[in-house]
Amino acid sequence: MVALYLTIFVSLLLAVLFLIFFIHTVKSGQYDDAYSPSVRMLFEDDEPAETETASPDEKNQT
């Protein structure tokens, strides 16, 4: 059943890759703040003040 070992090996490789990412993100402080990103994303597409068009959010409040 080489196929099983192959799929397990590739899956492990992926898992290790993601683990490296994970450690990297923790170390680089990605998760130091686990609250404000959730709020910040709500205001991210505000347009710059000098443009004439108002933010779509303001126009389209349902």
Binding site: M1, L6, L13, G29, A34, Y35, V39, L42, P56
Partner: protein
Amino acid sequence: MEKEKFYYDDKVVKMFAWATVVWGVTAFTIGLMVAYLYWFPHYMDGISWLSYGRLRPLHTNSAIFAFVGNGIFAGAYYSTQRLLKTRMASDLLSRLHFWGWQLVILLAAITLPLGITQSKEYAELEWPIDLLVAVVWVIFTVNLLWTIQKRRVRHIYVAIWFYISTAVTIAMLYIFNNLSLPVSMWKSYSIYAGVEDAVVQWWYGHNAVAFFLTTPILGLMYYFVPKAAQRPIYSYRLSIIHFWTLIFIYIWAGPHHLLYSPVPEWAQILGTIFSFTLIFPSWGGMINGLLTLRGAWDKVREDPILKMFVVAITSYGMSTFEGPMLSFKSLNAIAHFTDWIVAHVHVGTLGWNGFIVMGMLYWMIPRLYKTKIYSVKLINQHFWWGTIGLLLYVIPLYVAGWTQFLMWRQFNPDGSLKYPEFMDTVTEILPMHYLRAIGGTLYLTGALFMVYNLWKTVKGRKVEDTAAEAAPLEPVPAKRAKGEDFHNWLERRGMLFTVLAFIATAIGGAVEIIPTIFVDENIPKIEAVKPYTPLEIVGRDIYVREGCYVCHSQMIRPFRFEVERYGEYSKAGEYVYDHPFQWGSKRTGPDLFREGGKRPNLWHFSHIYEPESVMDGSIMPNYQWIVKNDYDASDIQTKMKALRKLGAPYTDEEIADAPRKLAEQAKAIAADLEANGVKKTPAYLEAYKGQEVDLSKKEVVALIAYLQRLGTDTTKKKETAQK
């Protein structure tokens, strides 16, 4: 730092969004065409490229890769730019991605109806298109990671992590599952055989659900649900836990598609354990999504977009509860091969994916065009038609699944099957299939409301790229700073580099190493099992071309009621020459693994031309062109050489002798047909209109040769041993 002014690339978002609309309607329509074939099996008779076996793969591929795929890309391009405060890294890559992906879809829409298929579910596309998919996918991945590198926000919002996992994982899965040996421009043989092929296919198949239909949609959920509700996600911390646990667990769950099969027991148990564990992250995410609306339920009452999201997240919860449960052997025994699975996946695609994507379109398209939606009432209509359609689709299919399983396993007191005719168990559930078709019609109708509504919304308007402002991040020098150790530098350079290196090495390694390993592995484990004869190869390729596997399994589970009905259960060693494997996943018709020798050749001849002529009440469409057309065996020697490379022990003499051997076997079958009065059958009279034909040249003869061979190698041996 000084603020920079830049523009989001909204045009590419617009292109993907409209592609989603167009392909969505297409995918639903093809699904309906297939669903109505249960009701009116003959309304497309005689048109080979509109036959069930070819349309069903087109339906699944267009729903997954065209509809959901374009939806994911639209949402990902929209949200990634805004979350990272940067334009996509390369307009060229974005356009190549868009047009490349549409080209893939177009090629799929041409090749699948023509019967050009690898016959591995959701991986049907033949090798040249696979290569194109791989290239386009790499373009997408590079564009995404490059954009992340150029970001103006340090923190990477959780949605983007979901997109990254999709990009990286799908690349790996797709490549490994599609490794094949081409024999011509549009035909290849999977390098894996039988059980091995099944393992790799369902490792892919399950993770296509995980990383194409789940993780990116979760990314969309984490962006668009808070946006539409104007509330932050319930718990951002939970969303991070959700992400990391989900991707670490999902990839191990594949073997739950192969319970009770000849796949080793430990692998099946592994699949069950991980599948069960999946309920925790999945429900964590589901709860996180729903609780985002806490205190905002009054908005849900008024905003049909939020209603769609609620139904979508609820469907996610339902299908991720059902999935783990179906991975337990006892429930899997019931559901596998029945309509229960079809219901389960449609809760996922119509409910979860469909409503997230369509809700997203309603929210996003007016914003792209800087306007308001044409009619909120019409969205409401869409919501209700879609939701009722969904329920009317899935509930009857649950009932159908249970009913059919209970009938399959009923015994009389004397130990014989209560319903020995498979046909009886089909007839019984037909009303459920009618209801399902009606449910699907409602769902499509809702989607048509959406087309009209969106069309009216944007009429006469253009999309301009949206302007934005943000300060750039502190630049991080690319070169190694003085005194910085190598590891730190590597880590800092990190992401893009690692991923690209990883993908490149993996592809290179895979292409070189794997085929050689698998050739050794394909050596027969049961002495009696012999490779297919030249004519049987031709017949098997016709079986693959017509997509017989979408309705007929070739895997008998070790249950008394299956052995009683179909014959001895399947052994791993019996599949070693099957490139690709043909186990199937649904029994709309009976299992064919031990079909060989059960019925006379003449029966098969009539049955393929017009199933109802020999099987009362059959809903199998007529495959008349197989009877009418001549087979093409000109490349039989190329095929045999390819199969020899993959492990089938054909000698040089056998390959040289193949055309003669092929003709000989075909003539024998033709002679048998004639001896039994084929010329008097309605099928013969109608197909050839009284003309003299050389039956031994017809595709039907090759197909019969294959069907009569199925599963006979080992059973024959037993008979001789008994003598």
